[in-house]
Structures are given as structure tokens and as C-alpha cells.
């Protein structure tokens, strides 16, 4: 049996674009889909608006993972905001890799407004991936102890 009292519960910060991913997350809730409560969704106007500072700040302040989710390429409400997201995200990924942060902790996903089930399954797989990686605990484990 899994001991739920001592099981590590990852803290995930989600930056969701209001037009697709956040609406998709809303749909997951309205459809009563059961998925892990480990994500804290933050609504942003566009995934292209997510400054890498926000991702780094979340990780430095105690998040175990960050999800950025927006409209599928070609479906962006602002025409090409999500292409800007990809450009930024690829660079951010190689930076995070050099910092020693596992790829599974920071993900970019596309979720349309009708994909509530997809949103739930992304959160579920991300939660399990990070659970098996363990806590990040950046300030205590990396900055102070190292």
C-alpha cells in the first residue's frame, strides 16, 4: 500500500493561456475529470507572455515543476504567440539542463479549449514523473547546502 501521509506531493506551477489551456483546464473541472491536485494554475493571456524569469522564480521559490501550456501551433489567439513560446522555451530548456534541472520538471504542452481530458492526463503524467524524481527544494538543497 502507498502511504499517502508520507508520499511526496510535487508542487507544480502552471502558466496557462487563457484562450486555450486555461479554458481546457476549466473544461476538465466542469466535466468532473479526476486528476491530481498538485498543480497551481495561473492564467496568463498568452503562453508567449511567460517570461523565463517567472519559471526560474517558481523553481527558486520552491516549485518542483512548471508547466507552460498554450494553444496548439496555428491556433494561437494572437496569431503566433505560441511560436514565440517555442523559441524561448528551447533556449530555456538548454539553460535548465545546464543548471542540472531535469527535463521532466519544466514542460511545454499544447491544450485546446476542448481538450479537458488531455489537460488532466498531462497534469497526471507530470505529477507522477516529478514524484519519481523527488523534490527539487532549490534553496535548501542546492543553494544553501552545496
Amino acid at each position: 500500500m502507498i502511504d499517502l501521509d508520507t508520499r511526496f506531493e510535487p508542487k507544480i506551477v502552471g502558466f496557462l493561456c487563457r484562450w486555450c489551456a486555461y479554458t481546457g483546464a476549466d473544461l476538465a473541472g466542469l466535466s468532473r475529470i479526476i486528476y491530481p491536485p498538485n498543480i497551481t494554475p495561473i492564467r496568463v493571456n498568452c503562453s508567449g507572455r511567460v517570461d523565463p524569469q517567472l519559471v526560474l522564480k517558481a523553481l527558486a521559490a520552491g516549485a518542483d515543476g512548471v508547466l507552460i501550456a498554450g494553444c496548439h501551433p496555428g491556433d494561437c489567439h494572437y496569431i503566433n504567440g505560441n511560436v514565440k513560446t517555442i523559441r524561448r522555451f528551447k533556449l530555456l530548456q538548454s539553460l535548465l539542463e545546464q543548471f542540472g534541472i531535469e527535463k521532466e520538471r519544466v514542460r511545454l504542452e499544447w491544450v485546446s479549449a476542448s481538450e479537458g481530458a488531455r489537460y488532466a492526463s498531462i497534469v497526471e503524467s507530470m505529477t507522477e514523473d516529478i514524484r519519481s524524481l523527488g523534490p527539487l527544494n532549490w534553496k535548501q538543497e542546492v543553494v544553501i547546502q552545496a
Binding site: 524569469q53 517555442i86 528551447k90 533556449l91 539553460l95 545546464q98 543548471f99
Partner: protein, 318 residues
């Protein structure tokens, strides 16, 4: 009127900040009449005991350059904080870690291995590494402790002002000294001797809206000396860096490396530069974007060359 007492100190740094002060030239000689230098280990014969025996708040202004990498650096930071009315983090290292903070991509063991074992010029068959204490026949010897993580001055003690630059440029130093001596003190925590706008505002190179499909390192090309380097595919930290230096690197056809630090209200200079760089990518498909991103060889060394200790993540995880 008594002359203001000034102290200079270097911690973990190269000494370039001291040279920058000497570069004031005749102004420094004239300054001699206006100020009283009470501590300056690199240039004048002072001992740490001179400082220790001083009453608290005896020094009017201390210019502290260098990052905090050893227990000696930390001790001097605390000592000078106690003895000074105004403590200024002078230069990139004290301000945000500087080049020494790139050590935060390694740990102490790796650094010692590299310095005392692996470098081709090292001949150390007994693998001797520095110890903090050693008993010699003549008595016990001691060395400062070397820390795993380099910190900025602000992380160790309370800092009043920051003067960025590697090193701060001469005319800006003169202005800062003048401001402080005039008594019209800026609000605490201010960054002095720099502009509040990005370096691009004072860079003379021609900017268009050109995007790039290939990134190059400086040794791979000789850039057109009239056009924006970023638009020629050379990573220039200008968009994410404070101006004030006069864009002197650009005058030498060399890209900005970011020593003047982040702009006001920016927490993480590297993250901002990452955004700026991605905005000039001429790539639409995921593969093309990946290729461009992969061509940034050393993201930490590029985006945080001077600012790793001040960045949000501060060091790498092992």
C-alpha cells in the same frame, strides 16, 4: 573640516577594479587633497589589525570590490560593514558575483581537482591541496576556508550602493565619488554610475529588424563594424544590460558581455537576455528553433557571465 575617510578593499576579484581607480590618473592625485585613504591593501601598506582596532563607523565610505568566495572575504566584508558609514559594492563581482561566480557551476572538490591535479601544467604527485590548518614545526599555519558557492556582497552584509562594471569605467567612478563627497546621497540601494536604460540606447551600431538564422561565436567571424551585432548572429548582451559604460566594447567591434548588470526592475539578467535572443530567431518550425537553441554552446556562461551569483537560481545542481 576633516577630510572624509575612504577605504578600498578587494575580495574575490582580479584586481581590475583597483586598476580602474588608478586609471583616474591626475584626478586621483587631486582627490588626495579631498579625501583621506585609511585602508587600501592593494596599494598602501595597511594591515587587517589596523582595521580591527578602528572604532565602528569610523570610515565614511568603503569601496568593496570582489565576490565572497572564502572565509577571509566574508570576514573583511563584515569588518568593513561595521567600520563604515557607507558601504559600496564596487564592480561586477561585488555587485553580482562577476566572473568568479562562474565557479558556481562546479563545487569546491571539482575546483580543487582541476586546479591542483588535472591541469596539464600541474605537477603535484602527492596530491597536496590547501588545508585551512597545518601544523608546521614553527607553529600552526592557517589559510581561509574556500566556499562551495560564491556569493555577492549583498548576500553577506547590508550594502548601501552598487557601482556596476567589469571594471566600472573611469568617468563614472569620478562621478560617483563626486556625488558621495557632495553629501547629496541617493536613496539606499541605488545603482550608481550607470544609466537606467539598456546599453542599446547608447550603442551607435545600426539596428534594423533583421532576424538571424545562424548564431556565431566571436572567433568565427569578423562582424560588420556598422551593424548591430545581435542582428549579425553574435550574442550581444546589450538588450538585457544597463548602459552607462559608453558601449566601449562595441566600439572595439566586440559584443557586450553584460558586466553592467540587469536593468531596473529586472531580477534575472540571463532570463531577460534569453528572451531577447529568442526574439531575433528567424525560425518557425520546432526543428529549426531547436537547431538555433542548440547552437548556444554555454548558456550559463553566455547569459550569466557576470551575474550567476545574483541570478534566481544562483548555482547549478550536482
Amino acid at each position: 573640516m576633516t577630510k572624509p575617510k575612504i577605504a578600498f578593499n578587494w575580495a574575490s576579484s582580479c584586481g581590475g577594479c583597483e586598476i580602474a581607480i588608478l586609471e583616474l590618473g591626475t584626478e586621483l592625485v587631486e582627490l588626495q587633497d579631498k579625501i583621506d585613504i585609511v585602508f587600501w591593501p592593494v596599494a598602501l601598506d595597511f594591515k587587517y589589525s589596523d582595521l580591527e582596532t578602528m572604532p565602528d563607523k569610523n570610515v565614511d565610505v568603503t569601496f568593496f570590490n570582489g565576490a565572497i568566495q572564502t572565509s577571509e572575504n566574508e570576514h573583511l566584508a563584515q569588518l568593513l560593514r561595521a567600520k563604515s558609514k557607507i558601504l559600496i559594492a564596487f564592480g561586477s563581482c561585488a555587485h553580482m558575483g562577476g566572473i568568479p561566480a562562474l565557479a558556481n557551476t562546479k563545487n569546491k572538490e571539482q575546483i580543487f581537482n582541476s586546479c591542483y591535479e588535472e591541469t596539464p601544467t600541474t605537477d603535484n604527485p602527492q596530491n597536496i591541496t590547501p588545508l585551512t590548518k597545518f601544523s608546521a614545526p614553527e607553529g600552526e599555519l592557517s589559510l581561509p576556508e574556500f566556499y562551495n558557492t560564491v556569493r555577492t556582497l549583498r548576500e553577506v552584509v547590508d550594502v548601501d550602493y552598487y557601482v556596476p562594471g567589469c571594471p566600472p569605467v573611469g568617468p563614472q567612478i569620478a562621478k560617483v565619488v563626486e556625488t558621495i563627497l557632495s553629501g547629496a546621497l541617493p536613496p539606499k540601494g541605488a545603482v550608481l554610475g550607470a544609466s537606467d536604460k539598456s546599453l542599446c540606447h547608447e550603442c551607435k551600431l545600426e539596428k534594423t529588424d533583421r532576424k538571424v538564422s545562424k548564431l556565431m561565436r566571436t572567433y568565427e567571424t569578423i562582424p560588420d563594424p556598422k551593424r548591430c551585432l545581435l542582428e549579425q548572429g553574435i550574442i550581444c548582451m546589450g538588450p538585457a544590460t544597463r548602459g552607462g559604460c559608453g558601449a566601449i566594447c562595441l566600439d572595439a567591434n566586440s559584443p557586450c558581455r553584460g558586466c553592467y548588470g540587469p536593468l531596473p526592475n529586472v531580477i534575472d539578467q540571463g532570463a531577460k537576455m534569453l528572451s531577447a535572443l529568442s526574439s531575433v530567431f528567424d525560425a518557425e518550425s520546432e526543428e529549426d528553433i531547436q537547431k538555433l537553441a542548440d547552437s548556444v554552446v554555454d548558456p550559463i556562461g553566455t547569459f550569466y557571465r557576470f551575474g550567476l551569483a545574483q541570478s534566481l537560481l544562483k548555482r547549478t545542481k550536482e
